[in-house]
């Protein structure tokens, strides 16, 4: 299996506090990887560096065999990365359709028919077809999360980074989400920050555990489940 993304010595310090410390990380093409860890472990900082929202203090990032460390976020996105926000970040005043169309249009350009088809396709996959004409801010929180995911899908990324996607979703929506993510691989590689352990255990091929900005453990769900270090980190007795 080939490597789609890797980091070498990736570090970020915020005025003395090291949020992410020399992380060497490898993501294989076509896998579903979960990134877990206690609050403040540096998960969001880490993926923010991957997508280019935050510049690293040190270290390199490679995506599809190219060094992308110095590329601005929009160029990483045009190379096939996509990111959905932890805090819902849709275009509140715009319609659901326009939100997804903006995600599709960068790739499809002026082809209105293709954009419209992509929008309908993405909304159908997350189950928001009936809400296409609504203003985004009028959607329920859970539906805004799904819209956020639809915007990720409409970009047809090679690597989709999801930051706590199931937060605020109802049980049946979580079940649909799991089915959806499974249907995306292996064309799309998934990197998932997630707190919901049932989602992590059922979806992930492999799990990476971050703690205090460093990789504490990495392995299959079964390995991680049995790992005493991980249990300590989560129970706070370590």
């Amino acid at each position: 299996m080939s490597v789609i993304l890797s980091t070498h010595g990736l570090t970020r310090a915020f005025s003395g506090h090291v949020a992410v410390n020399a992380v060497d990380f490898t993501l294989n093409e076509g896998e579903i990887r979960a990134l877990i860890g206690p609050n403040g472990a540096g998960k969001t900082t880490f993926v923010s560096m991957l997508i280019g929202r935050i510049a690293p203090s040190a270290g390199r990032i490679r995506f599809e065999d190219q060094d992308v460390t110095d590329l601005p976020a929009h160029l990483r996105v045009s190379r096939g990365m996509a990111y959905t926000f932890q805090i819902t970040s849709v275009f509140g005043q715009l319609s659901v359709e326009e939100n997804v169309a903006l995600a599709a249009r960068r790739r499809l350009g002026r082809d209105r028919v293709a954009v419209r088809a992509e929008v309908e396709h993405a909304l159908a996959r997350v189950g928001l077809t009936d809400h296409i004409g609504q203003t985004a801010q009028d959607l329920s929180y859970g539906h805004q999360r799904l819209l956020e995911i639809a915007m990720g899908l409409a970009q047809r990324p090679r690597l989709l980074i999801l930051d706590e996607p199931t937060q605020g979703l109802a049980e049946n929506e979580i079940a649909a989400f799991k089915t959806l993510i499974r249907s995306l691989v292996p064309d799309t590689t998934i990197l998932l920050i997630e707190h919901n352990m049932s989602v992590v255990m059922e979806l992930a091929d492999r799990i990476t555990v971050l703690n205090f900005g460093e990789i504490l453990a990495e392995g299959t769900p079964v390995d991680i489940h049995a790992n005493p270090l991980v249990q300590n980190a989560y129970l706070g007795s370590g």
Partner: protein, 314 residues
């Protein structure tokens, strides 16, 4: 009717109404409306940045003045005919907007407002310092024989009115078209959520630069036309006051609406005109009216129309 048809009917209807008014308005209001249309064009330019891209500039008078002086100086000192002089004016505004955009867009928010304000002051002071050519505060008149464009005497009221209407209509439909295209949609995306737009893969800096250049170019076209139609160029048009005017017009008329700038400019022009007929303290009346409008219609006239009855208003 589809939304697109409604939009067309409204905007074409407005232009048709303004055209009809050319033949029926009494001379005084006829002259006023010609002026309002040119000023509304200036506000349309301003609205591209403020209303559609969410960039608040406090220095737009520099673009208006760049257009006006680019046009007027090339007539006065280079002996240009009006048509090429207009082009020089528009190109001056576009060039200035490109330079200012490249520098000012490194900042955002309040800093952006201050940087644009400072650039505008620089342009104003430059006009004063170059008094040998610009005649500074006093300004200079563009003679009637210098204002004949393709055989049309622009000092003639009817020609002037129709020229103003043509300029206004072109800019109105150009911006209407712009915001329905992918580039305009990206402007709106940036206004709504810049970080999200960036992470959808859009080059936000470049889009904002486009917005500044389009906005500056339209403002310069208004400035150049104003000078040509009314036969005068003066440093007053580069003062802070002329940077604040389009902000007020757009806020009153409705930010992020196509007809808002016109409604705002028209409303404020007549507010000052009528209140100054009643009292010397006309700015007080204007001020109170503005406060009332901001309190009860914070989205401006067209914004309220959109909220209450015309949800499709672009």
């Amino acid at each position: 009717m589809t939304e697109t048809q409604k939009i067309l009917v409204l905007h074409v209807g407005l232009i048709a109404l303004l055209f009809a008014l050319n033949f029926i308005l009494p001379a005084y209001h006829h002259g006023n409306l010609a002026r309002v249309m040119v000023l509304a064009t200036y506000a349309i330019g301003y609205n591209v940045m403020l209303g559609y891209t969410g960039l608040l500039s406090l220095g737009h008078a520099m673009f208006f003045a760049a257009g006006m002086y680019g046009m007027a100086l090339s007539i006065r000192h280079l002996g240009f005919a009006p048509a090429p002089a207009l082009l020089v004016g528009i190109a001056s505004g576009a060039g200035l907007a490109l330079v200012v955009g490249l520098l000012a867009l490194r900042t955002a928010g309040v800093a952006f407002m201050i940087v644009t304000l400072m650039f505008a002051q620089t342009v104003y002071l430059t006009i004063l310092l170059a008094g040998r050519w610009t005649r500074g505060d006093e300004g200079f008149v563009i003679q009637q024989h210098e204002r004949v464009l393709w055989g049309i005497d622009l000092s003639d009221p009817s020609s002037r009115y129709l020229a103003a209407l043509t300029l206004f209509a072109i800019c109105l439909f150009a911006t209407l078209n712009l915001i329905r295209r992918p580039l305009g949609r990206v402007f709106v995306a940036i206004r709504e959520n810049e970080e999200r737009a960036r992470l959808l893969g859009y080059n936000v800096f470049r889009a904002k630069l486009f917005s500044v250049v389009i906005s500056g170019t339209i403002s310069a076209a208004a400035g150049a036309s104003y000078g040509l139609l009314f036969g005068y160029a003066g440093a007053t048009f580069a003062t802070v006051q002329y940077s604040i005017f389009p902000l007020l017009w757009v806020l009153l008329g409705g930010t992020g609406t196509i007809i808002g700038p016109f409604l705002g400019a028209l409303f404020m022009f007549y507010l000052i005109d009528l209140s100054s007929g009643v009292t010397n303290a006309y700015m007080l009346i204007a001020g109170v009216a503005l406060v009332v409008l901001v309190m009860f219609a914070p989205q401006g006239i067209a914004g309220e129309l959109r909220r209450r009855i015309w949800s499709w208003l672009p």
